[in-house]
């Protein structure tokens, strides 16, 4: 009886069983972290902020071979693209010279009309340009990592934009890298204004799919092709920045095609917009 008990204890305490038990314990801890949504706590946010640049530095060194392969492939693709663009440019050169005159005269006319209507100039913001160092936009938790130097004045919830429109906002930062939550991220919520009639709604990220706008009262008046801009409500994003255009409407569900494609960008603009300072 005693011998069998000793054998049982030995079996439980055998090295392979101990490893198995340790694996189960760590698995349970991981599950608790995940299911308990530990990432929503302030300590998790701080931990993520402090460790992002460390993990980025490690991955930057370790993934050097991948980077070399990727940049080689990218260079070939870019070279092909340049040749295509050169052909296109040569073809359009003649027509462009005529359109240039037209554009200049149009701009002069617009300036005259604005002067006549006493229109105020568009609101302008200071901005910082930052380089994209890692792109995770193809996942349903779409984010990008951008370079952030200590000297630059970045802050949490700083609006990020491309040359044509809004991209997202800064969610975590330290002295080396900052993370930008993109508009297609399933956690993203953005107050928007649709069409010239300024119908209000909230745009919600849908991962790899186009974002959708919800809570629009006058959804029946929305048409495909209507411009979607930031409404400025919430105080994080400035108003009247282009987000995209309505791509599809299905009852109350309004699908938006974003104007910016982050995979085409190397740099982004971070707008120095603070609601309280600028509007009070």
């Amino acid at each position: 009886m005693r011998l069998s008990r000793n054998l049982r204890v030995q079996k439980i305490l055998s090295p392979s069983s101990r490893v198995f038990i340790l694996a189960i314990i760590l698995f349970v801890i991981s599950l608790i972290l995940f299911v308990g949504r530990f990432e929503l706590t302030q300590s998790a946010k701080n931990l993520r902020s402090y460790t992002t640049s460390i993990s980025y530095s490690i991955s930057y060194i370790v993934s050097t071979p991948s980077k070399l392969i990727n940049s080689g492939i990218q260079s070939i693709v870019d070279l092909k693209e340049i040749y295509n663009q050169l052909d296109e440019y040569n073809r359009n050169q003649l027509t462009n010279s005529a359109s240039f005159q037209e554009v200049v005269s149009m701009k002069l006319k617009i300036a005259q009309y604005e002067d006549l209507l006493n229109l105020t100039a568009d609101q302008e913001y200071d901005f910082i340009t930052s380089r994209i160092v890692a792109n995770f936009s193809n996942k349903f938790i779409g984010t990008i990592l951008i370079k952030s130097d200590e000297t630059e004045k970045l802050f949490i919830d700083m609006p990020a934009a491309g040359p044509n429109g809004i991209l997202g906002r800064v969610t975590s930062l330290d002295n080396k890298v900052a993370r930008v939550l993109l508009l297609n991220n399933i956690n993203s919520r953005l107050p928007v204004s649709i069409s010239e009639d300024a119908h209000q709604g909230i745009m919600i990220g849908q991962g790899q799919n186009n974002p959708i706008i919800e809570y629009v009262r006058e959804y029946k008046n929305i048409k495909v092709g209507d411009l979607v801009t930031t409404s400025g409500k919430g105080g994080i994003f400035p108003p009247y920045l282009v987000v995209g255009k309505v791509a599809k409407t299905e009852g109350e569900k309004i699908e938006v095609e974003l104007i910016e494609d982050v995979s085409q960008l190397n740099h982004i603009i971070l707008l120095n917009y603070k609601f309280n300072q600028n509007n009070e």
Partner: protein, 161 residues
């Protein structure tokens, strides 16, 4: 023993390399976290080495910080695949690659379903079924080639020993 340690170190480095490559590759066809899971599953780990569990846990956290997935997501995946591999070992499943593959296939499909329904229920978002199933299919297709490659590397080490 030393060979085994070097062998493990090589695979730890391969896993770190794959996870780190997330900052370079941004493709809808390849999910490097799933590929890491596949490697963990097909590898024949040393049964008495407790460091493996700790390393897998830390690698998971590293993956979560880098990719910005919720904390515990990748480590629970890595340890789940490791544990199922260990249970399979206990039941002598590694002798039959096809059964091992079938278990992996079922795991991948259930993982996809859990992911899909979690996002649907928690975020009220129905992510594209077609786009999101592609990385899972790619990993399933990679099973046999990767299993063959890793087995031949590990058999080489066993022969040396």
């Amino acid at each position: 023993m030393n060979d085994l340690k070097i062998n493990n170190l090589i695979f730890y480095f391969i896993l770190i390399f794959i996870i780190s490559s997330n900052i370079v590759f941004n493709s809808i066809y390849f999910d490097l976290t799933l590929i890491s899971c596949l490697i963990i599953y097909v590898l024949r780990w040393n049964e008495t080495n407790w460091i493996i569990c700790i390393v897998l846990f830390l690698l998971g956290i590293y993956n979560d910080i880098l990719v910005s997935t919720p904390f515990g997501y990748a480590s629970s995946l890595f340890l789940c695949f490791y544990l199922i591999d260990r249970v399979g070992n206990f039941l002598s499943i590694p002798l039959n690659t096809n059964i091992k593959f079938l278990i992996f296939l079922l795991l991948m499909l259930s993982l996809f379903s859990i992911n899909y329904f979690t996002i649907y229920l928690i975020y009220h978002t129905s992510i594209s079924l077609f786009i999101n199933i592609i990385p899972y299919m790619v990993v399933i297709l990679l099973y046999y080639p990767l299993d063959y490659t890793i087995s031949s590397i590990q058999n080489k080490y066993v022969r040396i020993k």
